[in-house]
Amino acid sequence: MSGTRRQAYGARRRAPYAFLAPAAVLFLLFFALPIGYAIWLSLHRIEVQGLGLGSGARSEVWAGLANYADALSDSELLASAGRVLGYGLIVIPVMLGLALLFALLLDAERVRGRRFGRLVIFLPYAVPGVIAGMLWGFLYLPSVSPLHYLLDRFGLPAPDLLAGGPLYVAMANIAVWGGTGFNMIVIYTSLRAIPAEIYEAARLDGCSQAQIALRIKIPMVAPALVLTFFFSVIATLQVFNEPTTLRPLTNSIPTTWSPMMKVYQDAFRGGDIHAAAATAVVIAVITLALSFGFLRVANSRNRQEEAGR
């Protein structure tokens, strides 16, 4: 009797682990292991003997933190971070601003074609980044662009969208075009979850539609805004597809335009997987620090507000 109870107790104790096992195994195999390997790679380097030709000319040796020192002192990496910062300063406010605006418009009373509007705004998100980059690239190239053709017809000056300052706007435009729909859906879903009584109460108090949007809707969807901001920061830090597709069209996008392009360049064109691993680890750490730092600030503010209520 007591034996079976003990057995049952043991099974119950083991059960959670059994349920966790698949996830844990997958996590270890496809997450922890590759990260561990990347860190291991980043601590090594290739050393060449003699002319470096033939078998045995290359060996992998311990490098300590030398790859990290190189990555952190690399002016190219810093420059690429600067470029992405400038790009992010355009993309994130514009994209989230538009997403919020569209969500509020769709959520407003007496809006017709709500389903259609939602679909049309969301659709660009379904276009892969590479395709979007090509599509917009064609529109940016003066000699094949209908935009430039029209400007030319009306005798207006046509800007070179693939160089200098306008390049950032052109690049940001692709991200805004592609990302607004997704963020809008997140915010819109959160708007639909607001109980109708609150609106009724607000209307009884004499609130206009605009006031409801500003005073009730936006504060109520703040968590969704935090979430979309969080996603956008991560996506911006990892921008790769659009600049890579636009690069062959212009002299103005170097192969190391964004930090991710730098990693790709080092690993697959320069053949230096060790330096690339170190840079990737640095980017991952910075991304983690930024995202969790932001989440912490956002959460503590939420808590303060709740305490204040």
Partner: protein, 434 residues
Amino acid sequence: MKLHRTLVTCLATTLSAAALAGCGGSDDGDSSGSGPVDLSYWAWAPGMEAVVDLWNEANPEIQVTVREQAAGDDLVTRTITAAQAGEAPDLVQAEYQAIPTLVSNDVLADISGELGDEVAEAFAPGVWQQVTLGGEAVYAVPQDSGPMMFYYRQDLFEEFGLEVPTTWDEFADTARALREADPNRYLTTFSANDAGLFAGLAQEAGAQWWTTEGDTWRVAIDDEATRRVADFWGGLVAEDVISNEPMYTPAWNQALNDGSQIAWVSAVWAPGTLTTAAPDTEGLWAMAPLPQWNAGDNATGSWGGSTTAVTNDSEHRAAAVEFATWLNTDPEALAALVTEGGVYPAATAAQTGDALAEPPAYFANQPDFYALAAEIATGTAPAAWGPNVNVAYATFNDAFGQAAESRGDFAAALTTMQQATVEDMESHGFQVAR
């Protein structure tokens, strides 16, 4: 490991020799039970499968399978990665400039032992030197080559009263004359998105970017010859007599197609590119030798061209070498490569052979296209590649892209290219002469 490899090679040699001797028309000679040898071949040349089919039909004992994995530099990366995992294919298509990189990563086998002595004779010395890296070893069999030439719109040259330039000075004058005659047109462009073009132009001027002395590398990317080329093109870009727009963009296609650009410094494979880039101007182009630095010379550089190499992972090295030799020296194979893939064979005999009697369709107006090409090819300057061409090329893209965009200092961009290349080599432990 090494012993094991040698053993396998010997075994493979013996087996395939036995198979060759034994088969002689019937299959029953093969009683060892090992069956036919299967070789995998990573290549990107168009129509390669059709050529390989010819081999497979004639050689039931050695069956080759073509896999189109990737092209050019991407394939190099992929092959190196596969070799690290011990999974490299038996044969791989590799561009000349990638050979030192592949050898340095211990991917390519030294096939001098398996290769017949007569094979070297089939190629021009400047071509052969690129597969031996100047030593005793042989790392690949040359397949196609890309001697550089000058392509121009015959009709527009006539319309604007321009002479075909024979020297670079004349080339500059032609560019200026055209700008004066029609400010909406450029002679051509300086593009920073393909370092191969610049490397070829530097070879014509006599550059030897990587050379060795004992165990030391010497990098001479910013030598006098290359500097001359860089300054020349930089000057034309700064003067705005040639364009600075990159090649291979929709805008570039349009410029070639509508005559905004009326010439292209390119290589023997240009007809293929022009067919797709400028379809409306078929029959209006003509080809001439590359302009010279010294009047009366017959020098040219190489842009593109590739080889067939055997990897260290191959368990059938002798069979693979046999196939590579057939593919690149046998008249039937070469003729098929020309007709199926439109490649310009590296084997000298084939350059004047029957397969190249007709000009490419796009150049039907120039019946002696290939005869002229073969003549130009005799002046191909030797190329000297090093173990980090990829790094030098990537730096070229960025540094010269910036210089072209700002119409700025090409010499400074060249210095950047030299420094980045040397620094990369030194950081990996190569001995580089300063």
